[in-house]
Amino acid sequence: MKAGPRDCLTAGGGNITTVLALVALVGLGQAVKPSSSLAQAAPAPSPFAMPVPAAAHLLAITNATIMTASHGTIQRGTVIIRDGRIAEVGQNLQVPAGAQVIDGTGKYVIPGIIDAHSHTAIEAVNEGTKSVTAEVRIEDALRQDPISLYRELAGGVTSALVLHGSANTIGGQSITIKLRYGLPVDSMIFQGAPPGIKFALGENVRQTNVTVPAGQQRRFPYTRMGVEETLRDAFTRASEYRAKWTQYRADSTAWTHNRARTRGLEPLPPARDLELDPLVEVMEGKRQVHAHSYRSDEILMLMGVAHDFGFHVNDFTHVLEGYRVADELLASGSTASTFADMWAYKFEAYYATPYNAAILNERGVVVSVNSDSDERARRLYQEAAKGIHYGGMSEDDALKMITLNPARQLGISEHTGSIDVGKDADIAIFNGHPFAPSSRVEMTLIDGRVFFDRSTAPTLEYRMQQLRQRRPAAARAASGGVE
């Protein structure tokens, strides 16, 4: 007797779910496969691959409420996407012939969410052995397949700034990614995003909470004064290093043009120093500084250091007391990326207020709300709405905090962050207003390509349906339950 659908029908009396379960079991799984092309793409898929549907050449999202983040909300609007870029946005647009259409009736379309402070998808976070590790690169530890990326897509996130942790005063070089989940690791890198570096101030770099094993030295610095000294020391060394290279280039040019027999050996270049290279780039304005910070005093301290060494801090991240120095932040050209309402998790977070973003926004500072967490990243839209709750921010401004503002901070607003013609088609589609309580993400697109689609996603509902199908009656009886 071979197990098969027929046996099952006779043995169990057979209802349709049983049959479906068995069909799936014997490998003819078409019947339970989701209907989209996504799941049907590969008949015998590798267990190590993610079937990502190809991007449509022409795609239209029609009849949707479009919150552009740059120019207000368009009711019953259409977005036309051509080769991964937004080609047209507006009302009463003609859908081009041959376009794939996503019916947006009743749906809200917003720019893909940008998380300006993430530690997602990396195999190491802190190289905590030194206080200055400018030479280490997040890119070296990037990984393409963590499920957290998918879950962030399911929260509408399309881009993220992936940073080191905050163990060191100067942590290392960050990377901006697009969450192209399922594609090779190097295709996650956001081409054209400016390079960055993570600095950190305050409690974490002081390591006052770290118990030092017996026989080991406590790491410098231990106070906020020492943090400043560490920074000044690093940039002093970087300045000298830069001067050496400047001198060398001059000497080298002179030597090349010197035809005299006595010109001697070619000038010796200075030793390449991977730690100081990125700091030179910072001083030359070629690398953005992302500064983990809490207290207003340390924010002012870093501004002072930056001023003295001729650079500016691109963004203060966390910046929980930013509301106390909003004017200084604005004047120094720095932006702010904060938590919506996190506080009281440590002493330096005790003077936080959820009104931080509203005050910064009122005073003209470009402010974003970030996650710093693979969990929170999935609901940044709810976090952004707290800007409305605390301080009465407008809906447009709240939306900007997770779209256009982080794009501007990260220097990628030419490419993403709003629904504007010419930008990458990085888009999240909600079933309702993104700030409304019952809203969720239905679909997330990057470059016009669908990377998340709830209709084909492995939801709890799908899992339960499967369990119902495969659970034998005996086991159900044994569990004493009715399920």
């Binding site: 007797m1 071979k2 197990a3 046996d7 099952c8 169990g12 057979g14 049983t18 379960a21 799936a24 079991l25 014997v26 490998g27 339970v32 015998a44 590798s46 267990p47 190590f48 993610m50 190491a124 802190n126 190289e127 905590g128 052995t129 590790t133 030479e135 280490v136 690169r137 070296d140 990984r143 393409q144 397949d145 963590p146 499920i147 998918y150 942790g165 163990a167 290392g172 989940y181 399922g182 690791v185 390591q207 909470n209 080991q216 050996l265 010796l268 270049p269 390449r272 120093d273 991977l274 084909t456 492995p458 799908y462 199908q469 495969r470 659970r471 034998p472 005996a474 086991a475 044994a478």
Partner: protein
Amino acid sequence: MQRAWSRAATLCAALIVAFASPASAQEGTWALTNARIETVTHGVIERGTIVIRDGLIVAVAADAAVPADARVVDLTGRTVFPGIIDLTSSLGVADAAPPAGGRGAAAAAAPAGGPSAQSTERRFVGLEPERLVADELKPTEADISAARGVGITAVLTAPSRGAFRGRSALVPLRDSVGAREVIRSPVALHMGYQGTGGGFGGGGRAQYPGTLLGVIAYERQHFYDARRQAMLEDRYKISPRGTPRPPNDEALDALIPVVKGEMPVFFAAGNENEIRRALGIAHEFGIQMDIVGATEGFRALDALQAAKRPVIVSVDYPRAPDVTGWAYRSAQRLPPNDSARADSIGAAQLQGNAAALMRAGVKFALASGGRTADFLPNVRKAIAAGLPRDSALADLTIRPAEIAGVAEQLGSIETGKAADLVITDGDLLGDSAKVKMVFVDGIRYAVEPPPPPQAAGGGRGRFGRGGPGRGGAAPEMAQVAGTWDLTVQGSEGPTEATATLTQNGATFSGNMNSHLGSSDFTGGTIDGRHVTWSHSLVINGQSMTASWSGDIDGTHISGTVAAGEMGSFPFTGEKKP
């Protein structure tokens, strides 16, 4: 009484085997006659003679004359192969200590040292490019004879963890081998990704570099420093007067041949991203880099092709759930009970790694990955997954010889090469091969049945992921064919089942029969003594999958069977005579 005596005799025999190998080693002039000879480089001689003198092959031909002073070994019915060269060994070297903290340890890190690595006074942390393995070589005879018993005649040995691990030596598997006998040293600078594990309150040593992030930066900085050191030394040579004397730095001096492209780097990189990161460093500095491990090479074919360098492919396969991309499964709607199926498809893909590299035109040697005992069974899986048997043989012999820079001396049966030979009953790469005799540098070593697991060894997975408790002697591949009576200890008492199995190499199919009905299945796997299979089962009209996993010891099997939501149950069974 008689039984007791017979057991004592067996024990004695085992002891003799274990301690008497030097006595069984014989040097001299040899003539191996009437042998089937697989030369690897010049085809097969169906019935021929090999003459060995002074450790070298002096003649190999169908009609080679037998010298008068030769000791003749009649090999009628047996086959002679070149000795296997394993490029992934840590034989006789102390490892860098793993981080004390534990949590920060790189995933691929193996326990410190092989089972028999000698401790040295010096404490290494894996940042010692100047280490010269040949100088500190102290292998144990147990390790050597275990490897030889598999058919390995030479190993490339280096520490198995660290960023800069040291420079390797190619060691012939003679007894009491030391620096004097080393075939080539240094062969390559060995590198990897393990830091000291120090970190953000993570315990362990707080020495830079602690993590993957720091390791890569550290390695790159050192290559820049080595370039500069080379420049300083060159300038000093040209113009000693007026040029500041460069500092003496043995670490940088060891790296100079590497940055000059004169010495290769063997970089331990198992998964896709590790491979790509390593090749990125090679590209940045123009280093001649051979990836070692590459168990996910099939995911990085483009990078390996572009590198145009041979690869040392470990056949110590990772578990499918540990492989890059497995996590994608949680982002898809998959059919119920898909996991076991995916696991077996995944295993097939992993075992097909070498075949995929071959199809992509990437040259490679096969290597044990540190688990010597499973080496040939794992190679057989690669063959079953599509690697042509003759290619596999070359990948075990002449390819590693080429990669180690000793193709003139080793890797094939040719006149003038070292007499490193393996004599078998049956095909070395077949299922029922028995290694009977090994020559290393013309010295004959008898091969006895593998000693009990705890006495053998050959390390644990260093380049892949070592399975816990799976080191030890090569288990014979379990013979599953036949009818088995199984007893499952269910929650409501024991249940009987009958399994009728048909074996096909390392896989099997069959039929399961019990009061729950009968069902056919395919896709059973055999990994040494460990067998797994699954089949569908109908209970009260509901279908589910039963997954069996057991270990075979002769005609006895024991293990567990998992039946979906019902849970796991132990089972035992006997093969019907």
